[in-house]
């Protein structure tokens, strides 16, 4: 591997990541770092040449200074990946991915080559920020303008919150309670016993094609550990993680909630997120022990491609939570508006008796976007309960699929499921599809599934028109009402932003 350059230190100055706590500012900092306009990539010195083989994985693992067992784990995953074929059952259509054309390691980008001021940024993007109500300083940060961070620091200090102290206080407070919240690479170094114990225990490394790929080449991600009986005092978000550098395109998240603990975790952000990596294959694993509860919220707004369907992110994600303990609970809430293709089924394996799984989802597709998303609820323990609320909105010429499975195994006595999947069609060229799969093997289990598909009633729009609302506002209002049951589950600030986000994403679909 002589053509690979020597490794670099990735440690970052903690103060480099200080942004205010204000909701609107809760915009991922790593977006700014990754940000490069469009999909043009300068091959920097710190990037592997494209291609995937065992040597690349060894080099990657060496760069990250990983222990032998993890390298072995990656190689095993790679071996099973080679034997697998890309799944074709999802209702998505995309050109064949050349896995040898992807570079599997890229060091954090330097920011010096970003735009020098907002004037150099695409006006369309700025208009979007405007609509989302993002302050100017933050717009610069998001758009990757050089020097924006320093500027923002100043703003933040002037503002109500002192973000430096906020971040530090958080660190301290979490540490005091024994909560571990760090990057995956750090966790491998600092807490190898925990990582070794839980990694791949929910999503095995050979679970599916994309999970196997991720297991072989995952770049970085987050690790959360909540000790026994601890209630995490704040919403955790990748944003607050001090060294949240580049998580890259193969992100890996592992959250472990010990007995009686609680954590709420936020992922993603509402501002349009640009990334030069077209393929994203992340894996998220959640483990809840006795009486523990994990709440995982996602707002996904990756670049969806332009109006003609050119470009855009392929988002192939495996997310699964295991309710291992009795009375444990895992709740997934997602607002999916971005990505050219979304292939994502956050699932719950309800092993513990009386455990609860929840899935709340809003998936909006516009233009040429394709989404095949839903959930899986596997009931194993007694008295397990699951709730699925899915709202699909299709506009433009997009295709929006709900695909969900509810399985109640023989031992799942008195298990209960309620599923509701509603679709809203805006326009006559888009598609909305509902494919539930239900398999029940216990007579005392009860299951209900309901789905409806309809368009916005002309009478509803007329009513709002005559109350003085423009047609566009009327549609936004109706769409938000349609999604209310899901937004209710989001942390408050996120919910407000999610509403705005829908309005922006729907733009141009009215006519």
């Amino acid at each position: 591997m002589s053509d690979m350059t020597e490794k670099t230190e990735q440690t970052l100055d903690p103060t480099a990541v200080d942004v205010a706590d204000e909701p609107n500012r809760e915009i991922k900092e790593h977006i700014a770092r990754d940000y490069e306009w469009g999909f043009v990539t300068d091959i920097e010195a710190e990037t592997f040449p494209p291609g995937l083989n065992e040597d690349v994985i060894r080099a990657l693992s060496a760069k990250k200074e990983e222990p032998e067992w993890l390298l072995e784990w990656r190689l095993q995953a790679y071996k099973s990946w080679l034997k697998m074929t890309e799944p074709t059952w999802a209702m998505v259509d995309y050109p064949k991915i050349d896995y040898q054309a992807i570079s599997y390691y890229s060091a954090p980008k330097s920011k010096a080559d970003g735009p020098k001021s907002l004037d150099e940024v695409d006006p369309e993007l700025l208009a979007t920020y405007e609509k989302l109500g993002i302050p100017l300083a933050e717009q610069k940060l998001l758009a990757g303008v050089v020097g924006a961070e320093e500027e923002l620091k100043g703003v933040a200090v002037d503002a109500v919150f002192d973000s430096v102290s906020v971040a530090t206080t958080y660190k301290e407070e979490l540490g005091k309670r024994g909560i571990i919240f760090c990057s995956f690479s750090e966790a491998v170094k600092e807490h190898p016993e925990l990582v070794k114990k839980y990694l791949g225990s929910v999503v095995p490394r050979n679970d599916n094609y994309f999970a196997a790929l991720n297991s072989a080449v995952f770049s970085d991600g987050s690790f959360v550990y909540i000790p026994k009986g601890v209630r995490c005092p704040m919403e955790l978000s990748t944003y607050f993680r001090i060294n949240s550098a580049d998580t890259g395109q193969f992100e890996r998240t592992l959250i472990v909630a010990e007995e009686g603990s609680y954590v709420s975790y936020l992922e993603g952000c509402t501002a349009p997120q640009r990334d030069e990596n077209q393929l994203h294959a992340a894996v998220v694993e959640l483990i809840a022990l006795d009486d523990a509860e994990i709440k995982y919220s996602t707002v996904q707004n990756w670049y969806p491609g332009d109006e003609n369907g050119v470009g855009g992110i392929y988002n192939f994600v495996t997310k699964r939570g295991a309710c291992r303990g009795a009375r444990s609970k895992i709740s997934w809430t997602q607002v999916e508006t971005g990505s050219a293709i979304t292939w994502k089924y956050p699932s719950c394996v309800l092993q513990g008796d009386d455990s609860i799984g929840e899935f709340y989802s809003v998936a909006l597709t516009n233009n040429h976007q394709q989404a095949d998303t839903g959930t899986k609820m596997i009931h194993i323990g007694k008295n397990t309960k699951s709730t699925i609320i899915s709202k699909g909105i299709s506009a433009g010429v997009s295709q929006n699929v709900y695909r969900g499975e509810v399985k109640m195994l023989k031992g799942a006595a008195s298990a209960r499921n309620y599923s509701q999947c509603d679709s809203l069609l805006l326009g006559d060229k888009c598609g909305a599809h509902t494919f539930p799969y239900v398999d029940v093997r216990n007579p005392s289990a009860r299951l209900e599934h309901e789905a409806t598909t309809s368009k916005i009633g002309e009478d509803q729009i007329f009513y709002l028109n005559q109350r003085g609302l423009s047609t566009e506002d009327a549609i936004n209002m109706i769409v938000n009402g349609f999604c209310k049951e899901v937004f209710r589950e989001l942390p408050m600030e996120f919910a407000v932003e999610a509403q705005k986000l829908l309005a922006v994403s729907l733009e141009g679909s009215v006519g």
Binding site: W89, M408, K410, S423, L425, L426, G427, D428, K429, C430, G431, A432, H433, T434, F435, P436, Y437, V438, D439, V440, R441, N442, P443, S444, A445, R446, L447, E448, H449, E450, A451, T452, T453, S454, K455
Partner: protein
């Protein structure tokens, strides 16, 4: 990898059939093609989306032989099948061959023609051609291919324009054999000419011991303004194999009402595919499957809304006891220009035992925006409180249970318009519940 069938057995059997028959050239060629396709593709495994709930291995493992005509079955031998429960005309096939003795077409009204397919093929082969070829158009279906290659007889029913048939027309297929592993491949053609009205009952019965395989294909054309009620009753015993494929094409303002009552089998699959090709067509699909033992039923329905202003309604109900498994897949496809479609779909299941399994997949696939579509599915067990209430009124546990099940099933049976047919189905359900569904 598909499941390999026993190609030698099928090919030998096909060779013998070709020697025996004097088919027109186009039909021989069609059969050749279908046979070739069947042998090359084999049977799908459970990894195939359309077959994920049904394992065809037990069927593929058998060496099925063509069922032979039975010479002069005494009429009494068909007792217990409630053949005369319906007073209207009936046409009967034994082992897939027309049986003149059991057939009674005296009550056939003017303008309604019922004839064995074999006879029609002999007399007017060209007129049959488009009807027979149409099944092939439906795609490369392994069992459709098998039927095309092997069908020997079947029925052609034509309800003349504007004719109203007052009584239901019965088509009965009885498998009667003392040997194992026999197969019949009946082919049915139903034509409801414009503005006609009729009820057709398609029945599959069996007699005597032995494992049998029925592989039936039905082609239905409902022309403009016609109204056709089509009942399919399948009860060939718990060791039988049954595959039934029904393809329906509906013209302007036609109405088609289908009810499938299936009392199980070792592997039993009911496919129903509807094409609503002209505006104003409406259909209602009902299904009831009552299983016990190790029985397996897989219902597979697809409704294509291809044009605006059509409606479809679907209600399937499963009652599952023993170690049985009941599966339902319903697809509603609203094509791009099919605005103003109204569609609803529901599948409800009752699990009566710890070992029964219910699978349900109601699917909506929608490419038009001005539509009202809904689907629903439930799986549960009998309500303890309701059973307790009935028992406190003096009913035995069995009677209370049967009453509740009957109530559950009646939602489907009530949709049957013809009184005689409904009564027959209720009797069939009752005798089934009393005997072996626990």
């Amino acid at each position: 990898m598909p499941i390999a069938t026993a190609p030698d057995t099928w090919l030998q059997s096909f060779g013998r059939l070709s020697e025996e028959r004097t088919d027109p050239a186009w039909l021989s060629e069609l059969r050749q093609q279908a046979m070739h396709s069947f042998i090359t593709h084999g049977l799908p495994t459970t990894r195939h989306e359309d077959w994920m709930y049904t394992n065809l291995q037990p069927l593929a493992a058998r060496n099925f032989q063509r069922a032979r005509a039975v010479t002069t079955p005494a009429p009494g031998t068909l007792e217990g099948h409630h053949l005369d429960a319906l007073s209207g005309p009936r046409i009967v096939f034994v082992n897939g061959h027309f049986d003149a003795q059991l057939t009674d077409l005296e009550a056939l009204p003017e303008g309604v023609a019922v004839a064995p397919l074999e006879q029609m093929l002999r007399e007017t082969p060209e007129r049959m051609r488009s009807h027979i070829e149409r099944l092939v158009e439906a795609g490369d279906h392994p069992f459709a291919n098998l039927n095309t290659a092997f069908f020997e007889d079947g029925v052609v029913i034509r309800i003349g324009e504007g004719i109203e048939a007052p009584q239901p027309i019965q088509v009965v297929f009885v498998m009667k054999s003392w040997q194992n592993d026999v197969v019949e491949h009946p082919r049915l053609i139903l034509l409801a000419e414009p503005n006609s009205r009729a009820t057709v009952v398609e029945r599959y019965e069996a007699q005597g011991p032995g494992d049998r395989f029925t592989n039936a294909a039905t082609r239905v054309d409902v022309r403009a303004g016609a109204r056709l009620e089509h009942i399919r009753l399948q009860r060939e015993g718990s060791s039988s194999f049954h595959v039934g494929m029904t393809h329906v094409r509906q013209a302007r303002d036609s109405s088609y009402e289908n009810v499938v009552v299936s009392l199980g089998g070792s592997v039993s699959r009911h496919e129903l595919e509807l094409d609503l090709v002209e505006p104003g067509a409406s259909c209602s699909l009902g299904g009831l499957y009552v299983l016990g033992g190790k029985e397996h039923v897989d219902n597979h329905t697809v409704v294509h809304h291809r044009v605006p202003h059509c409606t479809s309604e679907e209600l399937y109900k499963g009652i599952l006891g023993g170690r049985s498994r009941g599966a339902f897949t319903g697809r509603m496809v609203v094509h791009k220009d099919a605005q103003h479609t109204s569609s609803s779909q529901a599948n409800h299941n009752l699990l009566l035992s710890d070992d029964a399994v219910a699978d349900t997949r109601p699917q909506l696939e929608i490419y038009a925006d001005d539509v009202q579509c809904a689907h629903g599915a439930t799986i549960g067990q009998l309500d303890e409180e309701q059973a307790f209430y009935l028992r406190s009124r003096g009913l035995t546990p069995m009677a209370a249970r049967n009453l509740l099940i009957h109530g559950f099933a009646s939602e489907v049976l009530e949709t049957v318009r013809d009184d005689e047919v409904r009564t027959l189905l209720e009797r069939v359900l009752e005798s089934r519940l009393n005997v072996d569904v626990t």
